[in-house]
Amino acid sequence: MTVPLPVFVVLPLAAAFMLPLFGKKGKSAATLLANLVTIGLVVMAVSTIGQSRTYEIGRWSIPLGINLVLDGLSCLLLLAVSVVSAAAMLFSTRYMEQYTAKSKYLCLFMLMVTGMNGVVLSGDIFNLFVFLEIASIASYALVGFGCEHEELEASFKYMVLGSIASMFVLFAVALVYGNTGTLNMAYISRTIGTNGMNLGLTFAMGLFIAGFGLKAALVPFHAWLPDAHPSAPAPISAMLSGVLIKALGVYALTRILFNIFGISVAVGWVIITLAVLSMVCGALLALGQWDFKRLLAYSSISQVGYVVLGLGLGALIIAKGGNTAVASLAILGGLLHLLNHAVYKSLLFLNSGSIEMATGTRQLKEMGGLAEKMPYTRATCAIASASIAGVPPLSGFWSKLIIVIAAIQAEYYWIAAVVVGVSVCTLIMYLKAHRYVFLGELPENLKDVKENKGSMLLAMSLLAVLCVVMGLLVLVKPLKTNVLEPAVKVVMDGPDYSANIIAQK
């Protein structure tokens, strides 16, 4: 079965505008429909594994029209987005009952999914900007969804920095158009390949790195994330940390740098510097947090650093003309970590939502001894924490191991040391969280806490199972060759991407 590519954008978009029509009385019908849409998207994303094709909107062939491109990298991101959004939507079914205006929430959620799917499928640089804005504006509104003091403050901060990032991206798009005369990614890449870089294009590349770096919350562009992610409702925190920063930030940056501009040694070092800064600062700042969700948010900054580090290491090795096998190993590690982080960080945010709903607090010091009261939340949280800290044989172990092996083979021993060191910090911060939330004395006011059942439990269990079995992506040959290797190949091919797209015309 081949799914037409626009369906990934049109289906959630249509759902977004239908859901508010149900009103207050049809709330359960609207929730059911939203769940069906997200599950449908998972099925369709799984069916695209191993495929690569393009779709020309309105049958206008490129470079005149806009095209959608499905290749290995897009497919990987589609999988991550659809799985996390399905789990988050399942979790919201019960969790969002505590808020009013659930149908508006569902509408914004669907718009966010639309934007992310659009970003990963778009083959046109301005179209990418439009989808980026759809996803961003929906996420600004969702961060402020509670309309309380902290939420509005976080939403405003996020929106100001997000809008500045979008303007950087739009300015860069304008510069690229002015210098190459086309907006289609494949043709831009071909023009740059024949004419080479000039000052305007180099400046555009800098603006892209700053703009997408802000969206991906790499240090020093991270200031908004620790406020915005904890303030959102838990399923939205899971979406933001799990996939939004990767689809809008890491994916877009990878596509632009590797496939359009092509990489150089200087760019490789810039990416590695940003990545190492994010890993170290994120982990150290997370250690000192006493708000559970804030700790998770800082840890996201650190984990995105791993993803970008894998990609940057690959870029540096390719640009220096080193061993391509090592470069592809580094990129494989980065991309696998992207998938892994999407799964376990969204699970941890769902856990925090479950705990917050049961106890009414997020402060670690006010909790304790919840292990007996909330056994399922505890079990899933333990799996996710062990996974993110890199305990074998859970998912996080494999991606970190691959990055370390690649760094050692490329003889960047200090990078391997940083990866291991940050991993130890991660282990410490999750041991701390676990100790304060689930172990120790149960406070008097939490004596009658109850475990959350139903859809919330189902969503958490599904993600926990994924955490355990994700290692199979590396170990089982057919999965590896169909899911990970096409994505690595797209990144490794670099500017050859344009020849592939133009040939498919």
Binding site: F126, V130, E133, I137, Y140, A141, G144, C147, E148, H149, E150, L152, E153, A154, S155, F156, K157, M159, V160, S163, I164, S166, M167, L170, F171, A174, Y177, G178, L183, P226, D227, S231, G288, Q289, D291, R294
Partner: protein, 121 residues
């Protein structure tokens, strides 16, 4: 030269958005940035003594081709389409930004971001 002025406008907007303390002024700063980018896009398509990019009969040559006079003078229509899209998007985000400013004013009673500081760490 016009490009340099356009970039200056962008930098002024960025400065205003980053340095100012009043929420409404920050929003205005972001808008100035947006206008600077829109202006830049429009200037990309500008040609002195340009004509509208619509081929009418007077531009057709006898063989049915398009006259050189048209090709050398027609304005690039694409940036204008881009600017229209960008304006619509910025309208959406402006509406959201202003409504969050109003809600924040209702809660805190001030627009000064140095006094709106409940989130730390």
């Amino acid at each position: 030269m016009p490009y340099a002025l356009c970039f200056l406008l962008f930098v002024i907007g960025l400065y205003c958005a980053v340095v100012k303390k009043n929420m409404v002024k920050i929003v205005v700063g972001i808008l100035v940035m947006e206008y600077a980018v829109n202006l830049f896009l429009i200037m990309l398509g500008y040609r002195s003594e340009g004509v509208a990019p619509i081929v009418d009969k007077s531009y057709l040559t006898e063989g049915g081709g398009i006259a050189d006079a048209f090709l050398s003078h027609a304005v690039d229509p694409l940036p204008q389409a881009l600017v229209l899209t960008a304006i619509v998007i910025s309208l959406g985000s402006l509406a959201l930004m202003i409504s969050i400013c109003i809600r924040t004013y209702e809660k805190y009673g001030t627009f000064d971001i140095t006094e709106i500081r409940r989130l730390k760490g």
